[in-house]
Amino acid sequence: VVESVVLWRRLVGAQIRSQLQYRTSFMLDAGGAFLISFIDFLAVLVIFHNTTRLGAWSVQEVALLYALSSISFALADLTVGHFDQFPQKIRDGNFDILLVRPRSTLFQVIGSDFQLRRLGKALQGALVLVYALSALSIPWNAGRVVMFALTVPAAVVIFASVWTVGSCLAFWTTDGGEFTNAFTYGGNFLAQYPIDIFSTWMRRFLAYIVPLAFVCYFPALYILDKPDPLGLPRWLEFSSPVVALLGVGVAGLAWRFAVRHYRSAGG
């Protein structure tokens, strides 16, 4: 594992260096990512122009959800976002090359494309986080600090797992990639808003089975010391890291299962 991490860092480092060669292009791309994700937050503000509360949540509280989800999603996008182009690898047969190399296929796919410009999205989330934290008076204590520190890493892992599982679909249908978008981009969209405004069946499926409620809804309840409007048991607020670990397990199994059923497109 250690060796893999070292190798990953070298792969990514090389890609970052090459991307920074074209400064203007890079700045424009990162700026673009910043701008287009900013629209989502503008939408939150426009919604709160029409109401003071969404479910049981104020604009500052939704801003916290929005920020935590956006930052995590952007960081997941940074590491596995190029899975969106993965079906192309299957279609043109290039996946076969990975099979004969002495590293795990999942590792090779993850390390193959690292787009630093996606940080533009995370920066936007970070600005919203600064706003949310300064506007809310959070009763900080050791527990909340630890929870806060764990939320983003756990959420990144959850998003990345969802992305990986979704991408396994490409092994069966190469032009069905947009199915995955419903859970990745759609998942981020859902997680930016409080789960309690959605209907029961949606919560069950999108929040608990695809574990999007653990991205920031439950951790935020704890950080804000807010009673759950849904009245769910309190231990759920601490379970995001466990869910993240489970996610990694499921993603690994799904990937292994898919690779085993892979039939090359080439002749």
């Binding site: 424009l28 791309d29 629209i39 426009v46 249908t173 947009e178 419903a182 759609g186 969209f189 808003y193």
Partner: protein, 262 residues
């Protein structure tokens, strides 16, 4: 016109060859529709109207917007820009049919495909689950006209930002800005009715409202009689203005065009 028809058929056929992509797209549009519908409904929990919209109007808006996403190709089109960049545009310009007319015909073949196969199913799902607002026969007929005009306005705008490739080698930045502005101000992200007054005024002064907000308002019956004719006329005016601008840009651009390679 016969030629335009043939090109349009190609536009339809290209997208009809990927049924799985269509199925996946329908699924994704539906999921986004649900998320958005519940967000807007949460607003109506606290009040009965936003502007002239009641809850049924807002939810109808969400599902119509999802139905129109692909029809008006809201997420961007860069085919022309790529042809300019790799020099293929030179061949296109040498043809007896000018590129703008070619791509417009192609787009008018693509749009009905997306309207039927990407639009109707998500809307039906929405209609099964939520109480929606349905139009009178007159408003439904006007809606179809309005959507067609919206497609042309959207095409006119897409043609313009693609033309930037005549002057810039890398137009990704331009495309991102164009997408952000048009998505937000067309009403694709949220109904313009939800905007605060000053932002609403800006949105109505821009051409983007003619792409999404206008057709949906026609469906919802927000315009009657002269006002209805007026909104269609405004869409037509924007369509002609953008096509005219596109024509001008194409002329200026092809004068400046230097194709690399021998």
């Amino acid at each position: 016109v016969r030629l335009d028809w043939e090109i349009a058929k190609r536009g339809w056929r290209r997208y009809a060859s990927y049924p799985w992509a269509t199925a996946a797209g329908i699924f994704t549009n539906t999921v986004f529709g649900f998320i958005q519908a519940y967000i807007l409904l949460a607003v109506f929990h606290h009040r009965s109207h936003v502007g002239s919209y009641d809850a049924a109007d807002a939810v109808t808006y969400v599902w119509l917007a999802q139905a129109l996403i692909m029809t008006v190709y809201a997420f961007g089109w860069t085919e022309l820009a790529l042809r300019i960049r790799d020099g293929s545009i030179a061949t296109d310009l040498a043809r007896p049919l000018d590129p703008q007319r070619y791509w417009l015909a192609f787009d008018l073949g693509r749009a009905p495909y997306h309207f039927v196969f990407r639009g109707i199913l998500p809307f039906v799902v929405g209609a099964v689950v939520f109480r929606l607002h349905y139009p009178t026969p007159l408003h439904l007929a006007a809606f179809f006209v309005s959507v067609a005009l919206g497609v042309v306005v959207s095409f006119g705008f897409r043609f313009l930002y693609n033309s930037a490739a005549f002057w810039l080698t890398d137009i990704r930045g331009v495309v991102t800005v164009a997408l952000s502005v048009s998505l937000f101000f067309s009403g694709m992200i949220l109904p313009l009715t939800f905007f605060p007054g000053w932002l609403h005024a800006i949105a109505l002064a821009l051409p983007f409202a003619a792409i999404v907000q206008a057709p949906i308002d026609v469906w919802l019956g927000k315009h009657d009689g002269l006002a209805l004719a007026g909104i269609l006329a405004l869409q037509l005016a924007w369509a002609l203005a953008l096509l005219g601008l596109g024509r001008l840009t194409l002329r200026l651009g092809s004068r400046k065009l230097v194709v690399q390679g021998g």
